[in-house]
Amino acid sequence: MFDFSIITNWLHQSLLSVMPEVWAVVLECVIVGVCIILMYATLAIILIYGERKICAFFQCRLGPNRVGKWGCIQVVADVFKMLTKEIITPNQVDKFLYKLAPYMVILASFLTFACLPFNKGAEILDFNVGIFFLLAVSGIGVIGILLAGWGSNNKFSLIGAMRSGAQIISYELSVGLSMLTMVVLMGTMQFSQIVEEQADGWFLFKGHIPALIAFIIYLIAGNAECNRGPFDLPEAESELTAGYHTEYSGMNFGFFYLAEYLNLFIVSSVAATVFLGGWMPLHIVGLDGFNAVMDYIPGFIWFFGKAFFVVFLLMWIKWTFPRLRIDQILTLEWKYLLPISLVNLVLMVLIVVTGFHF
């Protein structure tokens, strides 16, 4: 099994040989930060291209096909277009809040992104309270959206921001409860340990019925958390032009766009980590030969494979179902998902206490 900590340890040792420890740590922090930003941008480009192609195939179209083979550098061209665009500040807006809002959204997205375990030994923020930290920092994004709606001085933006706030706050409960259900089964919140514990079977199989229910609830609520799919009415273009980012242009809009796609990836990879084993290969107890073969595939390939599988599921949902109304969204959360998750939590506790899990 490829262990990424060999590389990081080698880097640390070689830096220690030329400079004191403090500067080595500072330099490593900078390197890690640059790596996060690069990965973030690359993943966003891949996801946007994937979304446009998948959307096109669902609608029996071809999608982007002019720039590069199968249009594969279309999104790169779009990124450069967006980078060179003028950033317009509308008249009579609260300039400070208007300019701050995209950075709050992207900050929350970066912090959650840094929690993900990409490979064995490649965790960036690996706290003891991992999942809890992830849920906490993802809450900062709501404030960015509310500030964007308020700062734009535009009623469509404000309505979009209010809808988004109501929706995200509501669905955070279901995300939290389904994660809590899994924490009961896992007995830890640290991402590296969560993955290690799935060496003899993924938690989706270990926790069978309640884990499956939690998985489905998490997918629905996570989809709503990133304002996508049938839950995209904060930016419902047919009624609110573009919701909370109507007034944003250039890279300020780009930040919202990036954060939306990366939040999709983050939701998917948390699902992949908690339910589908993260970077842990598919192991079946008793089949040692099979397990050994699976171990030859590096962990990050497993991680990205699982994450992109869940991304595909979410895109499938998005391009299949029509948009819900705001009252239907709130009804779905408060009258169905929340009671189901509470019952599911009790069910999981009973199963763990009586030892009915694998």
Partner: protein, 171 residues
């Protein structure tokens, strides 16, 4: 060397918190005030992370950034108009506010200076407190464990929810 690095980080965080707290009370626009308050609370969470107490830092972000400030901003958006600004404070009020804050600062300084702190026991590197220990402490019933306050707070919160529903329900 490690200690001085931590001191630098602490100094930056402390300056950030001080500047943002002053801005919170001096700005005229209420949404900006809430935003500066958010930065104060995030800075405090940063202090907890510096101490290695990631649980408390996460709780700080979860409860204050994710809960309280969102609630503030939400209720401001629902109640006030875009052009609302605070009235300029009268001179007597400004004076009273200054006296109160100076007295408060003096009190805090006095307590901090005269308090006898337990010296560090050589273990300089902050150790992360395990969530398992926190959980056991929270619902344990032994000595120095917190089952009774925990349950009291949950009943109190339940009463708050029922009360809020009673006030907000349609007649």
């Amino acid at each position: 060397m490690g200690a001085t690095f931590e001191t630098i980080v602490f100094g930056v965080l402390a300056m950030f918190i001080i500047v943002m707290s002053v801005l919170t009370v001096t700005t005229g626009r209420i949404v900006r005030s809430a935003t500066y308050l958010l930065f104060v609370l995030l800075g405090t969470a940063g202090l907890y992370f510096l101490l290695g107490y990631t649980f408390l830092g996460s709780v700080q972000i979860m409860v204050y950034a994710g809960g309280v400030v969102v609630l503030y901003v939400f209720s401001i958006l629902l109640t006030s108009g875009a052009g609302d600004k605070a009235q300029k404070a009268r001179r007597s009020r400004l004076f009273a506010g200054l006296v109160t804050s100076v007295a408060g600062a003096a009190l805090v300084l006095f307590i901090t200076m005269t308090h006898h702190f337990v010296p560090a026991t050589g273990n300089e590197i902050p150790v992360e407190t395990g969530i398992n220990n926190i959980g056991r402490m929270m619902i344990g019933s032994g000595k120095y464990e917190y089952i009774l306050p925990f349950e009291a707070v949950s009943i109190f919160l339940l009463a708050c929810i029922v009360g809020a529903l009673l006030i907000a329900r349609k007649r």
